[in-house]
């Protein structure tokens, strides 16, 4: 009963059903969507480890099966799918075209589940495209501005997908099969030129989805305009499909080739530069969602670095971060969505001081940023630690600096994010803001607990990761439930860390609360030290515009360079060229007749050239 076709069936049937039911009984559409994700969650969770099924479509045998690697991402998709749909129930309640929304939402989830269970390239590509177009539909969901953004997303996705397709076509023409089991491990049977092309094309293709620079330009806008629940899924799970693919390509294809080290080295540096530049761009943003979008690009850069380095510890770090990023970035997008729902904007220069109005969202955002920053004791630290240790110990001395610079600079945007939205002056404009409904709080709270638990017991997540790595033919690495080891005998015991932090924190927290409790009083944020001058009611005390001006000044040349302009220019040039080209069709019958005559003349005159025969 519990098998992969049923999972896909549930997802796609649920999608269609929620669309149909939207027009019949609008009240039922959300329960239907929610029920679908619950079923999916259960089915994916209970899926037997050795499911394998072959389906014949056309000439191809589509193979779907569970692997530890696929299951790792499958669980991620299912969990995040459930959380985001649950979050949508209230977030989207007042929006229109909900049938459309839920249909595409579930299509995306179904497409992703299809990808992770694919055991051949045709199914992979099939579901990849379903995921792409349904996510495009959600990107353009919001508004008129979204059209060109959505188109940009689709064009980049199409370029990526078609690179993958060319890779697939090359593999098929040289190996005659597209089954993973016949390709993985047999890659050396084909010529080097094709091998290189396949690997590069596929990395480009998957790199587009994981927003690898310079293919990232679609991401910030697309993340920013898509509805928040979807942004959480987009950045959390959808981008991980790119990571999933790159993992497959690297360890199942490239690892067996002679040029593996070059691929690794190049990819690692691209990832590192992506991480650094994306972080810098994130610092310069004023829109919270765009900031998080750039942050996602940066985090995906880390993950790619980890995968590319290819030591057991670094791969573990990458996969750990991949899962964790899905969680914490969803937390942040959800918190941002909560702010958006209550204030109608995500512009960080407009909103401020929501902490007392929206405490749950604030705590979610706080835990989110601590996890992103990689500060102990939350889960992010384990990922960062493993990444740095593996980088240093595998001799990537300068890459580690780049990565470290990126993650230090990440503090800047993270602080700005939480400060601008939740801290700072409590403005009168947002006086009546309320916390979001419980359906939105639940996913946020659950994920907050998750990052906390993973911080103390990283082993919980490292167990499935190490079995996934086994599938990827990577050597096992050493870890315990809450102790991480590096290759040089160093270790971090998270339990001791957490216990000491908790002990000191609680002790002093109690101390500072109890001491002078009665005489400690709350004052508003207008009641501050302003050198004796009393600020008037409408005096602006919020520091939000150009928050990091000095820093931006010192990295100005980097910010100015923009690959986006190059793409826009290329696009314009193409459009212009197409525009000229269409005047081939003049609309004049005589011209067309002339074409016919000319073509005849050419065929006759150059028949030797064309057909090899003189007339």
């Amino acid at each position: 009963m519990i098998s992969i076709p049923y999972i896909l069936l549930i997802a796609f049937a649920g999608a269609l059903l929620s669309f149909v039911i939207h027009h019949i009984a609008p009240k039922l559409r959300t329960p239907v969507a929610l029920l679908t994700t619950v079923l999916l969650l259960y089915f994916v969770w209970a899926l037997p480890a050795n499911s394998l099924i072959n389906i014949k479509i056309g000439d191809f045998i589509l193979t779907w099966g569970t692997t530890a690697y696929g299951q790792l991402f499958g669980m991620l998709v299912a969990v995040l799918g459930f959380f985001t749909v649950l979050y949508s129930t209230d977030f989207m309640a007042s929006k229109e075209r909900l049938g459309y929304f839920y249909m595409n939402f579930l299509f995306v989830i179904g497409g992703m589940l299809g990808i992770v269970y694919s055991q051949d390239f045709i199914s992979l590509f099939f579901f990849w495209e379903i995921m792409t177009w349904s996510s495009f539909m959600l990107v353009i969901y919001c508004c008129k501005d979204a059209q060109s953004i959505g188109l940009k997303y689709f064009v980049f996705s199409a370029i990526g997908a078609y690179s993958i397709l060319i890779g697939i076509v090359l593999l098929y023409s040289s190996m005659g099969t597209l089954q993973f089991k016949n390709i993985f491990g047999h890659i050396n049977e084909i010529s080097t030129g094709i091998k290189i092309s396949v690997i590069i094309l596929m990395i480009i293709g998957f790199g587009v989805k994981s927003a690898l620079m310079p293919l990232h330009v679609w991401a910030p806008d697309a993340y920013a305009v898509s509805p928040s629940p979807f942004t959480a899924l987009f950045s959390g799970a959808l981008s991980k499909m790119g990571i999933f693919g790159i993992g497959l390509v690297l360890f199942k294809l490239a690892a067996h080739t002679g040029f593996y080290s070059y691929v690794q080295y190049t990819l690692a540096w691209i990832g590192g530069i992506t991480a650094l530049l994306a972080t810098f761009y994130a610092i310069a943003q004023t829109d919270a969602k765009k900031l998080l979008a750039y942050s996602s690009i940066g985090q995906l850069g880390y993950i790619i670095v980890g995968l590319a380095i290819g030591t057991p510890l670094s791969i573990a770090a990458a996969l750990f971060l991949a899962i964790l990023h899905a969680i914490f970035k969803s937390m942040l997008f959800m918190a941002t969505g909560a702010v958006y729902m209550r204030t109608g904007t995500t512009n960080m220069t407009e909103v401020s001081g929501l902490i007392r109005k929206m405490p749950i969202s604030f705590v979610t955002a706080l835990f989110g940023i601590i996890t992103v920053a990689g500060v102990p004791p939350l889960g992010g630290f384990a990922a960062k630690w493993m990444l740095y240790e593996s980088l240093i110990q595998s001799g990537h001395y300068f890459l580690v600096i780049v990565i470290f610079a990126a993650s230090t600079a990440a503090f800047l945007y993270l602080f700005r994010y939480i400060f601008s939205l939740f801290l700072g002056q409590e403005e009168k404009e947002w006086e009546n803001v309320k916390e979001v409904p419980w359906t939105m709080q639940i996913p946020m709270i659950l994920m907050t607990i998750f990052v906390l638990v993973i911080g103390v017991f990283p082993g919980l997540l490292l167990d499935p990761i190490s079995s996934a790595m086994q599938y990827l033919n990577v050597k096992p690495f050493d870890y315990q439930m809450s102790v991480l080891f590096n290759n040089w005998g160093g270790k971090v015991d998270m339990q001791i860390v957490v216990r000491s932090i908790a002990a000191v924190f609680i002790l002093l927290g109690i101390f500072i609360t109890i001491k002078g409790y009665r005489n400690t009083r709350y004052v508003t944020t207008k009641d501050i030290h302003t050198s004796g001058e009393i600020p008037t009611e409408n005096e602006n005390l919020t520091y939000a515009v150009d928050f990091y001006k000095p820093f931006e000044r010192s990295i100005a040349p980097l910010l100015k360079a923009s690959i986006d302009k190059v793409y826009t220019l290329t696009g314009d040039i193409f459009e212009q060229a197409f525009d000229y080209l269409r005047y081939v069709y003049t609309g004049n019958g005589q011209t067309y007749a002339m074409y016919v005559v000319l073509f005849l003349a050419i065929l006759l005159l150059f028949s030797e050239l064309i057909f090899g025969i003189i007339l």
């Binding site: 014949k56 056309g58 495209e129 078609y162 060319i166 023409s173 081939v584 006759l604 025969i613």
Partner: protein, 485 residues
């Protein structure tokens, strides 16, 4: 039961319609429907037979190679079935769409066109091929000018101008052929063609390429197409894209595979296909009118089909046929949807479609569906045929062609999705109280279901594609069946 019904019944209906028109207009509207239902019955009966063993039908009692013969093999079975299906939905759609008089003339021409197209597909000798081409062409010219406005007349004139080139070339080629081999039976020609001097053969080939290239929209001979598609009534666009062009490309490929199977011709076809596709897709990108855009897209798709035929291996021919089938269905769906979108917005301009998705959700949905399908996205049928084309092209080592096909797919995606996002996400327009008629919606619904079903179960069509492709490639079997049945 005989395949001759495919030709005779529509022809008979074409004569009957003006007479019935004197009695009742409503009856006129029903006649094509009855014809198509009958043809479907014929198709269903003959299909299982023809797919296994070709039926060769002799008309007027003379045996091949002297008499006139029909050849109903797997390929013809597939194409006639397709024409019947498309014809049926076009009739269904036209039922409420064509409200302008004289409707009996519309249906008469439509029936003529079906006669001609099935004739092209079924005929076994070249002169009849010419005759049916002419019937099709004349019906097509008249249908282009059906609206009797200035633009329609101009488009029809252009079509006529270029079409007369086509007729001349084909006739000239047939005359030359007859002068050399003294037979008109295609199977017979195939056996005797090797005795013809090479230069003459090439000359004949060039004439056929020119003549049939015009009808099958090969660049640069396709100047007539954008105007004809966009000025004719919308169902006629579907007729062109789904029936006329498909029959013409069949004729071209039949002749090339049967008589001129030089390697260099194949290369030429691939190159011409690529050029046709690229220029058409690029031109489509900047079109202001939705039907012109669809016309260019049709040309682009034909380029793809020509590439696949040019590769000339069994998988590629099969892929080409599959692509033809899908394109016929999807482009018809798009023309149908576009027809009502234009009707409701009152303008042919793409910019007039803003926000129509809110006002006319079902029609817009069909358009969006068709757009996704024609770009080649799963799970629609277009995905599989494009994939098959790509794989077969790549298997012959033509990776540059693969890359160019995918490049044009990106372009295609851009201009289709632009329209789709306009439909749904731009500011809403004033609502149009007129409703899309049920018959139109049913026609689109049928196509949608077929596209979706084939998308999930491509074997349904692919299964029959293999014998069809083999028929085209296996010259010896054709000659044997055609001459010594």
């Amino acid at each position: 039961m005989s395949p001759v019904h495919f030709i005779a019944i529509p022809l008979f209906a074409a004569f009957l319609i003006p007479l019935v028109g004197k009695v009742s207009k409503n009856l006129v509207k029903l006649i094509p429907g009855i014809v198509f239902l009958y043809l479907s019955y014929v198709a269903i009966t003959l299909f299982p037979i023809g797919i296994h063993k070709p039926i060769v039908e002799i008309i007027a009692g003379f045996k091949a190679p002297f008499g006139i013969s029909l050849y109903y093999g797997p390929l013809a079975a597939f194409l006639t079935t397709m024409i019947t299906l498309i014809g049926f939905v076009i009739w269904l759609y036209s039922y409420k769409f064509i409200i302008r008089e004289p409707i009996e003339k519309y249906y008469m021409l439509f029936m003529m066109l079906i006669t001609g197209s099935t004739g092209i597909v079924l005929t076994g000798d070249v002169f009849n091929l010419f005759v049916f081409l002419e019937i099709t062409a004349i019906a097509a010219y008249s249908l282009t000018a059906f609206l009797r406005d200035k633009d329609g007349a101009e488009a029809a004139f252009k079509y006529l101008l270029i079409g007369s080139f086509s007729s001349t070339f084909v006739l000239l080629a047939i005359v030359l052929l007859y002068a050399n081999v003294h037979t008109l039976n295609m199977a017979d020609i195939a056996t005797k063609i090797s005795s013809v001097p090479l230069t003459t053969r090439i000359f004949i080939l060039i004439l056929f390429l020119m003549g049939l290239g015009i009808e099958s929209e090969m660049f640069p001979l396709n100047g007539w197409a954008p105007d004809a598609y966009s000025q004719a009534p919308s169902p006629v666009g579907a007729v062109f894209g789904g029936i006329v062009v498909k029959a013409s490309i069949y004729a071209l490929m039949r002749l090339i595979y049967l008589m001129f199977e030089f390697q260099s011709v194949m290369h030429f076809l691939v190159i011409m296909g690529v050029i046709t596709m690229l220029i058409a897709e690029m031109s489509a990108m900047r079109q202001q009118q939705i039907k012109r855009m669809l016309a260019f897209s049709s040309i682009g798709q034909m380029g793809l089909v020509i590439i696949a035929f040019g590769v000339g291996t069994e998988p590629s021919v099969r892929a080409a046929l599959f692509q033809m089938f899908n394109h016929a269905l999807i482009k018809s769906l798009l023309f149908f949807a576009a027809g009502y979108l234009v009707f409701h917005s009152g303008s042919k301009k793409i910019s007039a479609l803003d926000g129509l998705g809110h006002d006319k959700p079902i029609t817009s949905f069909f358009f969006a569906f068709g757009a996704l399908a024609i770009i080649g996205l799963p799970p629609f049928s277009g995905f599989w045929s494009k994939l098959y084309v790509l794989l077969s092209v790549a298997n012959s080592g033509l990776f540059a062609a693969v890359a160019l096909i995918l490049f044009s797919s990106v372009v295609e995606a851009i201009y289709y999705l632009r329209v789709v996002s306009r439909l749904y996400f731009n500011t809403e327009v004033a609502t149009d109280v007129r409703r899309t008629p049920v018959s139109g919606l049913v026609a689109m619904g049928i196509l949608t279901l077929v596209i979706l079903f084939v998308g999930f179960y491509p074997n349904l069509v692919l299964h029959w594609m293999t014998p069809a492709a083999n028929e085209l490639l296996n010259k010896a079997a054709y000659i044997k069946a055609g001459l010594f049945h």
